[in-house]
């Protein structure tokens, strides 16, 4: 490295350290968000330049002379050598979902510091490494999936655990993100109208792409975007119309049922008709909006009004219960480390890589980009006044459903907010109320609307920006919901087919209907549970999702560690073992507390006991109706169900870890021969004719 480069990287390190020091030590005066963005950007640059290069060439030994599966097995369908930036775009669009937006918003209840540090450090040392190593391992194994690698590298049991974890994650994930949409659209005729219009637009695009211009995705997406913007703008007139507004004003339970029906329809309809065109639309809007948000933050450089640390690090937070450790690290999964990414990194992407060295920018760089999105979400949440943030995100069961009581409670915590201020804000963004809008989406939309309206010089258009942001988040979430339901349906059909062969036929309508109904019933149950939960649903469902997601990350890191051992890279095992140890500590602590904590807001069983006592007291006093007793009974059942799911997930973590450690010890003691199941190395022909970048040495 030349002197000039050394000076440059030293300057980046100094700026990053200074920014980090500033955000960590800021007390009292609000800190400008640019410091947070600058510190994160410097750390990402350093992480990519030095750590990812170390992992790429010292640990994994990337070799661009070695032909990738895309080159060796090229068939024009599954295996296609693809330009690295095109593949980067595909990979990023696949891994970036609502998680990195919602998680940081919720974790902002601890203040901006814990979440930001976890997003950046956890991302660079954990999430990026997991994605990168999984992608590398899959490329070296002809694009095998995580399930197949877990089977071949750990054991048959490992493969089954992955399959179970995937279904569990999908069920809980879809339920929790559907709950976020419900809370964003309840009593919001403007928002619901916009989303309702997107569905016929998607159907129109589906027909266009199928019959009129097959595969012309870009022009169809531009047409779709124009129609969606018309819907966003005209939503105001629907919301203000005394005739139309009631049709689009729904409560939580109604919305939940609408979403359940949508999930079923999207799963059983041909994929070209609804799911794919809606996904195209979502992908372009998602990437565009993230870009606009980054520019908006740079131009607006707003002050962060949320303190670095709030009083809720002690576990008494209104949005979700639990101390900063472990719950900050469970709440922010996708922005820092997400097990689900390992499915993408071992799915389509490894079959498209044309050069093994590209795995670094796609695997490590793609996750780094997602982590940066999470930092931007954190900024969008913390530029709100803390009182406003808590008023939007706190459930009625904690702060009260009535505005006066809620503002008094929140102001009593030291975060002043008034009913008039909230009413004015709701009016400015075109909503009836912003109280108790849990789930993170409305507060993110308010934050984004403030940033957009201040930077783009259109302060009068705050309401349109707010609903644009809601539409953007809902599109993100619908993608997870319908694509997840469909994939879950395929997995279920595969499993059911082993029991009764006709149920495994993916083109048979009875089989499609049965598997779709089972999948939708599973996540629909949890969604309805969340809607009925007096604590808002997010308090119980989001940690469950975090635990399930980190279970998959644990499996991915166990597979990665096993592969490193088999490669003879014992010196570098810390690269995967440190994030693995951290994840196990976080997952197990969170699981224990969610099940057995004596605090009813935190522990599922303690909450069930509390309800049981309340019911017994009310029955003794004779002041309880049969309907109320039934409701309490259902809440108690839900608590026990959540505790059981948590225990099963935790048990799977223990089992997969035990199985992996047993294998590692057998290799170490020489009682089992480590056999690397890589595809044979073949010299790349592409490498002889084009610039293929670095070779194994890395330089």
């Amino acid at each position: 490295m030349g002197l000039l480069k050394k000076v440059f990287w030293l300057a980046v390190a100094c700026l990053g350290a200074f920014g980090l020091g500033l955000i960590a030590s800021a007390r009292g005066e609000p800190l400008n968000a640019l410091w947070l963005v600058a510190a994160a950007a410097c750390l990402y640059a350093l992480g990519y330049r030095f750590y990812s290069r170390f992992v790429a060439y010292r640990v994994l030994g990337l070799d661009s002379r070695r032909a990738t599966p895309a080159e060796r097995l090229e068939d024009g369908r599954d295996y296609i050598p693809t330009h690295k930036w095109v593949l980067f775009g595909h990979h990023f669009a696949a891994i970036a979902g609502p998680g990195p937006l919602v998680g940081p918003i919720l974790a902002a209840q601890f203040g901006y510091l814990p979440g930001t540090l976890w997003i950046v450090i956890g991302g660079l040392l954990g999430g990026c490494v997991q994605d990168f190593v999984t992608l590398f391992a899959s490329v070296r194994r002809d694009g095998r999936s995580l399930t197949q690698m877990a089977k071949s590298e750990i054991s048959e049991f490992g493969g089954w655990t992955v399959l179970f974890a995937v279904v569990a994650i999908m069920v809980i994930l879809i339920a929790v993100v559907a709950l976020v949409v419900v809370n964003a659209l309840k009593a919001s005729p403007w928002g619901l109208f916009t989303i309702a219009v997107i569905l016929p637009v998607a159907l129109l695009l589906g027909v266009y792409l199928r019959y009129l211009r097959p595969g012309r995705v870009l022009e169809a997406s531009i047409l779709g975007f124009a129609l969606v913007m018309v819907a966003v703008i005209s939503g105001r007139y629907v919301a203000e119309s005394p005739h139309w507004a009631p049709y689009f004003t729904c409560g939580s339970a109604t919305l939940a049922w609408i979403i359940i029906v949508y999930g079923f329809i999207a799963s059983v309809l041909p994929v070209w008709l609804l799911l794919a065109p809606r996904d195209y639309l979502a992908t372009f809007i998602k990437l565009g909006t993230i870009g606009i948000l980054a520019v908006g933050i740079l131009l607006a450089h707003p002050p962060m009004l949320m303190p670095a640390l709030t009083r809720f690090t002690d576990g008494t937070g209104p949005i979700f219960a639990g101390k900063v450790f472990p719950f900050c690290f469970i709440t922010i999964a996708c922005g820092a480390i997400s097990g689900f990414h390992s499915l993408i990194a071992s799915g389509t992407t490894p079959k498209l890589i044309s050069n093994e060295a590209d795995a670094r920018v796609i695997g490590y760089g793609g996750m780094m980009m997602e982590s940066f999105v999470a930092v931007m979400a954190m900024v969008a949440a913390t530029v709100l006044r803390p009182g406003v943030y808590f008023a939007i995100n706190s459930p009625a069961g904690v702060v009260g459903a009535e505005a006066g009581r809620a503002t008094a409670t929140i102001s009593g915590w030291g975060f002043p907010v008034t009913g008039a201020e909230m009413a004015d804000l709701a009016h400015r963004v075109g909503e009836i109320t912003l109280f108790n809008r849990t789930g993170g989406a409305p507060s993110l939309a308010v934050g984004m609307a403030q940033i957009f309206s201040h930077t783009l010089g259109m302060s009068g258009l705050e309401a349109i920006w707010y609903h644009f942001a809601i539409m953007f988040e809902a599109l993100f979430i619908l993608t997870v919901l319908d694509a997840g339901t469909r994939v879950g349906r395929f997995i279920l059909q595969d499993l059911l087919g082993r029991v009764y062969r006709p149920l495994g036929r993916t083109s048979s309508y009875p089989s499609i209907m049965v598997a779709s109904a089972l999948m939708v019933a599973a996540w629909g149950y949890f969604l309805l549970e969340g809607v009925r939960d007096p604590l808002g649903g997010i308090n119980s469902l989001w940690p469950l999702f975090g635990i399930a997601n980190q279970l998959l990350a644990t499996i991915a890191l166990c597979v990665a560690t096993t592969i490193l051992l088999k490669m003879g890279k014992q010196r570098y095992l810390a690269v995967t073992l440190v994030p693995l140890a951290w994840l196990v500590a976080v997952t197990m602590t969170a699981s224990y507390q969610k099940v057995w904590s004596p605090e009813p807001r935190l522990g599922f069983l303690a909450h069930a006991h509390l309800l049981q006592d309340q019911l017994a007291n009310q029955l003794a006093a004779g002041g309880v109706t049969a309907a109320r007793a039934h409701d309490i009974g259902r809440l108690m059942f839900n608590d026990r169900l959540d505790a059981t799911v948590t225990l099963v997930l935790a048990a799977l973590v223990v089992m997969i870890l035990t199985e992996s450690v047993r294998n590692w010890l057998l290799y170490a003691w020489g009682r089992k021969q480590p056999v690397l199941s890589e595809a044979p190395a073949v010299l790349s022909r592409l490498g002889l004719t084009s610039d293929k970048g670095q070779v194994a040495s890395g330089e």
Binding site: E74, D75, G76, R77, D78, I80, H83, W85, V86, G89, H90, A94, I95, A96, G97, P98, G99, S145, V166, I169, L173, V177, L209, R210, Y211, P214, G215, R216, V217, L218, S221, V271, W272, L275, A276, D279, Y280, A333, C334, S338, F340, H341, L343, I344, G347, T348, T479, V480, A483, G484, R486, V487, F490, T506, F545, N549
Partner: protein, 58 residues
């Protein structure tokens, strides 16, 4: 200069959107001496393949 940038950007967008997939598939299939699918059939087969495994994350 600006024209070249826009042309490159447009080509990149077409690639990311998958609009060149069929052209590539057709060229490769013909090179192998096989009969390629029609554009609409290729589009449908690609979608079935893409949306039958985890392809959208949380």
């Amino acid at each position: 200069m600006i024209k070249t940038i826009f042309r490159t950007l447009w080509r990149f967008l077409l690639d990311v959107a998958g609009e060149n997939d069929y052209r590539r598939y057709r060229a490769r299939t013909l090179a192998r001496g096989e009969t390629p699918l029609a554009p609409a059939a290729f589009y449908l087969a690609s979608l079935e393949q893409k949306y039958s495994r985890p392809n959208r994350c949380c």
